[in-house]
């Protein structure tokens, strides 16, 4: 075995294990201090692994779960690089951001667990490992969402957890069906199994919903504009930059991309992608909190790779190149969004004078322009890699898609302008950013610049776009900036204090509808059993006042009376005999 292959074999398990080891060290008073200092460096094995030259090493552990299989392929490398970079940047940033937080040990405990799960995802090559890392990441991120303990954060956490549980069970059923059909737990066999499975539509629907929850698929996105802003800044950065990609990665791993032509599903995915793109922009423009604007921008941006998946289901022959373009888009968006979220923590740098102010402004403008797809940025690269494939879309899409994509770029530019506008510090006390926050931010920005230049090592095969059509890239951004400037000039007021559309959009009418229903049920409840104190649910429960359950308690009490028990016994006996 050669030395690089050996290094791969060591780094593969170490990537998810090192964060867990640091997590374990947080538990003892003696090792706590050291562990807290080590937190930011825990993703280093993953970063190293992604940067090493390509190797076909895989780590097979038959005794792990039902056969563990870790390895790194081309898609996995792109995602691993993104995830490791972002966690590293967020970890460094968090050292400064949370320096005065009393509960930072709890924060970093969840931070490390979620990091381990997220870093493991691109390495998992079998269903169960993937599902395990996905669950580890999802459940631990709850601790990040509710960290601040405000009512807003608690509500966000509750909604988040509901949807995580829903996603978990949807994926469980989907994975069981895939595993049953493919008779193998390898992800490599999953696509082929799905292609031939008789219940493929059901499986695809389940996968789309299960992973779509994580990726912000409208209308399953409702947790996202609540949870991403609720978390502390570094956690938002990884939630919106890295963890959101887990849903996309899951779809990339499991869908039969490049194997079959499913025009109907291609249409569905293209429509879903476009819906995300424009919904995110439109609702995002109404928001008044910088982080909420960014969260809606994430929904919008995740629409592009979703659209790419739809294109892939229509033209299997093009998938090898298209897949690389989708992965590139994920990389670009992750870095840009991570840099933007970390930038929210740096906004007070805009109050300072001279060099720092200029640097802060540049650091905010760069990722914003990249997201909008301005020329010479990673956005331009990613978009022009994706665009040629629109020609292979089914139906009338080839005529419409280019125009729609330009419109989307215009919308994104406006959204970014909105972000900078609401972020601009006004009044209040200033908290100048600490040095480590600068460090983390600089890392994310540096990676974004490298990505724009096509210089990241994973980008070898993907960074060959056609001839850059400068005008096509330039006009939406230019028009967006002009429009934004016009709006600022025409309506210079600071705007409404409350957003036009409340964050969580669709969730709000849903909750509003649920409240009277719950009140009605509660009234029914108290009338039927006014005296039974034991039926009163524990605090925090209000939603399972199901009328169906009313009789259960009575039945249970009756069952405990002996004559009834004896009678029931005989009756059941007779009933079963008849069966």
């Amino acid at each position: 075995m050669t030395a690089p292959a050996l290094l791969h074999l060591i780094l593969l398990p170490l990537t998810p294990l090192l964060p867990l080891a640091v997590f374990a060290a947080l538990w003892w008073r003696r090792t706590q201090g050291m562990a807290l200092r080590l937190v930011p460096w825990a993703p280093l094995p993953g970063l190293l692994l992604a940067l090493l030259p390509d190797q076909a090493a895989s780590f097979v552990v038959p005794w792990l779960l039902l056969g563990g299989h870790l390895g790194l392929d081309a898609t996995g490398r792109v995602f691993l690089l993104l995830i490791a970079l972002l966690w590293l940047a967020a970890g460094i940033h968090a050292q400064g951001y949370l320096a005065d937080d009393e509960r930072r040990r709890r924060f970093f405990a969840f931070f490390l667990l979620a990091m381990s799960g997220n870093l493991g995802l691109p390495l998992a090559l079998d269903l169960l490992d993937f599902y395990f890392f996905f669950a580890l990441m999802s459940f631990s991120a709850y601790g990040l969402v509710v960290h601040e303990g405000s009512p807003f954060a608690l509500r966000a956490g509750r909604v988040y957890l509901y949807l995580v549980m829903l996603g978990e069970v949807l994926l469980f059923v989907a994975l069981v069906l895939v595993a049953w059909e493919s008779d193998s737990l390898l992800l490599a066999d999953a696509g082929a199994a799905m292609a031939r499975a008789p219940q493929r539509d059901l499986i695809l629907l389940l996968l789309l919903a299960g992973f779509g929850i994580k990726a912000g698929l409208v209308p399953l996105h409702v947790w996202l504009p609540l949870a991403h802003p609720a978390a502390p800044v570094p956690a938002s950065a990884v939630l919106s930059g890295a963890m959101i990609k887990a849903g996309l990665l899951g779809l990339l791993r499991l869908l039969p991309l490049g194997l079959v032509v499913w025009p109907a599903w291609a249409q569905v995915l293209i429509l879903a992608g476009l819906a995300m793109v424009f919904f995110g922009v439109l609702v995002g423009l109404t928001q008044t909190q910088a982080k909420t604007v960014l969260a809606y921008s994430s929904i919008s941006q995740m629409g592009f790779p979703m659209l790419g998946l739809g294109l892939g289901l229509a033209q299997p022959g093009a998938w090898p190149l298209l897949g690389a373009a989708v992965a590139l888009y994920a990389l670009h968006h992750g870095l840009a969004k991570g840099a933007l979220f970390l930038g929210v923590g740096m906004a007070d740098g805009l109050r300072e004078r001279g060099m720092r102010r200029a640097l802060t402004l540049a650091g905010l403008l760069l990722p914003a322009l990249a997201l909008a797809g301005a020329p010479l940025t990673s956005g331009a690269l990613a978009k022009s890699a994706l665009k040629p494939f629109a020609a292979g879309a089914p139906g009338f899409w080839p005529d419409w898609l280019p125009g729609l994509l330009s419109l989307a770029a215009l919308g994104t530019t406006l959204l970014m302008a909105r972000f900078l506008y609401v972020l601009w510090p006004r009044g209040g006390a200033a908290h100048p950013p600490r040095p480590s926050m600068w460090g983390g931010w600089a890392l994310a920005l540096g990676a974004l610049i490298l990505c724009g230049g096509g210089l990241l090592p994973v980008m070898g095969p993907v960074s060959a776009p056609g001839e850059p059509k400068l005008w096509g890239l330039l006009w939406p951004v230019g028009a967006g900036i002009l429009l934004a400037a016009l709006a600022l000039w025409r309506f210079p007021s600071r705007g409404r204090p409350a957003p036009l559309v409340p964050p969580g959009d669709l969730l709000v009418p849903l909750e509003a509808a649920a409240t009277p229903a719950a009140r009605l049920l509660a009234r029914l409840w108290s009338r039927v059993t006014p005296y039974s104190p034991r039926l009163r649910p524990p605090p925090g429960f209000w939603w399972h006042n199901l009328a169906l359950l009313l009789s259960l308690h009575e039945a249970e009490a009756a069952l405990r009376r002996l004559p009834v028990a004896g009678l029931a016994f005989v009756v059941i006996l007779l009933l079963l005999l008849i069966l």
Partner: protein, 499 residues
């Protein structure tokens, strides 16, 4: 009779004899009593280890002693009995350590530990019983020896729970005797054989066999807490925490589930039972129990009561796995015998720690307790997440095989039941975890016993849940390793379907 034949007997006696000695000990000889307890538990554990290696090497251990003409006491170690006996011997050891710590300084400890040992002897007897008649004998012995443990506290509430327990289990036991006698009269000796013994009988007897099957399931269903025969279990939670652990994880409930396994696999034979059409109704009852138990658990504020209803639900995973006839479902059901034991004993240990250390009995009192007792709550968290079936914990492995088994047997509704149960489990466990870790602690705990606020609790109370919680992770994470319960169960499933 050779030495190897005496090994099963020695395993049963290794807890019975210390038990009998402990009865005779005066109350204050606690050091000798503890020594006897632990020596017995360790001896049993090592004997079981020898037995395991022997059976693995292909040796046959059979002990036969005539009781009445035509009726023998048979102890026989086969693959299935090893599954149960390794579990109960190990958990007994852990529970003994825990019980010693839990009952420190409380009255009537000789009585308690005496019956505790008898209870475990009966359980090992059940595991090793080689025919249905021996099984009945140990089953009744278990019923009787558990009663004093349930009423140990002597409060009116405990006595009432004990009365309910006795009514249910004695009625079930009586039914069991009748059914066994009937079956013995029809079919002759009832030695357990993998793939069953009844398929060769005269087809004219089939209606009788169906009736007997229903009787047997009713009798065993009392202990396995199948709805509507479950009402004794939530009441019995007034017993001390080690007894609850014993009831829910090691002995009583498991005895019922294990009995159903024996009847379905080794008396009727899974294929014959399926051909008689007996398994479909059983699967429906199990599925209903799973959902009913979970729904009821939602409403309990008393922590142990909530856990008790959770047991009602989770034990029926085992029955469901048996009743959805098919090798993969069998694997899921049988392995859950071990997995549910590990998870539930962890949860009850933790509940006991909270009650013993801080006086917390209710879910609504648990706010912020994670800061005061982080290790206990970490173990509790693992147990609860395992119950929900989060990978890689043991509950997930069971659920995965049950779901695959449902597909294999062309019964996709099993998936629906599993999904609903997962969501319900999350609905009654996650709020507890939330309150414990993220809630604000009260100014004072309800009743803090431990004088030293820097220590979490005593070692004897803390170590057992940590060990079992570690197993909840390890047995799931390394389910593919040789000698994991999963691999052993796969071996058993191969035997049961070999015909």
């Amino acid at each position: 009779m050779s030495w190897s034949a005496l090994l099963p007997l020695a395993i049963v006696l290794s807890s019975m004899l210390p038990g009998l000695v402990i009865f005779a000990l005066p109350e204050e000889r606690h050091r000798l009593r503890t020594l006897l307890n632990l020596a017995g538990a360790l001896l049993k554990l090592s004997l079981v280890g020898v037995l395991f290696l022997g059976v693995y090497a292909g040796q046959d251990y059979l002990f036969r002693m005539p009781l009445l003409p035509g009726m023998d006491l048979v102890l026989h170690a086969d693959a299935l009995s090893l599954l149960f006996i390794v579990l109960s011997a190990f958990l007994w050891f852990v529970t003994t350590v825990y019980a010693v710590g839990y009952l420190e300084g409380s009255p009537h400890r000789s009585r308690f530990f005496g019956f505790f040992s008898l209870c475990v002897s009966a359980t090992t007897g059940l595991a090793l019983a080689g025919d249905l008649i021996s099984f009945v004998i140990f089953y009744e012995m278990l019923t009787i020896s558990t009663y004093p443990l349930v009423v140990h506290r002597g409060t009116p509430e405990a006595l009432r729970a004990g009365r309910i327990y006795l009514t249910y289990t004695l009625a079930g036991g009586a039914l069991f005797v009748v059914a066994t006698a009937w079956l013995r009269a029809l079919a002759g000796p009832l030695d357990f054989v993998a793939t069953g013994i009844l398929s060769g009988l005269d087809p004219a007897l089939e209606p009788n066999l169906k009736i007997i099957f229903v009787l047997l399931i009713l009798a065993l269903g009392v202990k396995a807490a199948l709805v509507p025969l479950h009402a004794w279990l939530p009441n019995a939670m007034v017993a001390p925490a080690p007894v609850s652990a014993l009831l829910h994880a090691v002995a009583v409930v498991k005895a019922g589930a294990f009995g159903i396994m024996r009847v379905v696999y080794d008396v009727y034979g899974i294929e014959f039972a399926a051909a008689l059409g007996l398994l479909k109704p059983l699967a429906v009852v199990a599925a209903f129990t799973i959902l009913y138990g979970s729904v009821r658990a939602l409403f309990q504020d008393d922590l142990k009561r909530r856990l008790a209803f959770s047991t009602v639900s989770q034990v029926s995973y085992i029955t469901l796995g048996i009743a959805v006839a098919g090798p993969l479902a069998t694997i899921g059901g049988l392995v859950h015998l071990v997995h549910q034991g590990m998870m539930k004993i962890t949860l009850f240990f933790c509940a006991g720690n909270l009650a013993e250390t801080l006086g917390i009995h209710k879910v609504s009192e648990m706010s912020g307790v994670g800061r005061r007792m982080p290790w206990t709550l970490a173990a509790f968290t693992l147990g609860a997440l395992g119950m929900i079936g989060v990978p890689p914990l043991v509950g997930f492995i069971s659920k995965w095989y049950l779901a695959l088994g449902g597909l294999e047997a062309h019964q996709p509704w099993v998936l629906v039941v599993l999904v609903a149960s997962t969501l319900l489990n999350a609905a009654y466990f996650l709020p507890i975890l939330y309150a414990a870790w993220f809630g604000a602690p009260p100014p004072a705990w309800p009743h803090e016993h431990l004088g030293d606020a820097r220590r979490e609790t005593t070692w004897a109370l803390l170590l057992p849940p940590l060990v079992t919680a570690a197993l909840v992770v390890l047995l799931g994470l390394f389910a593919g390793a040789p000698f994991s319960p999963l691999q052993w169960v796969k071996l058993i499933a191969d035997l049961e379907y070999s015909s």
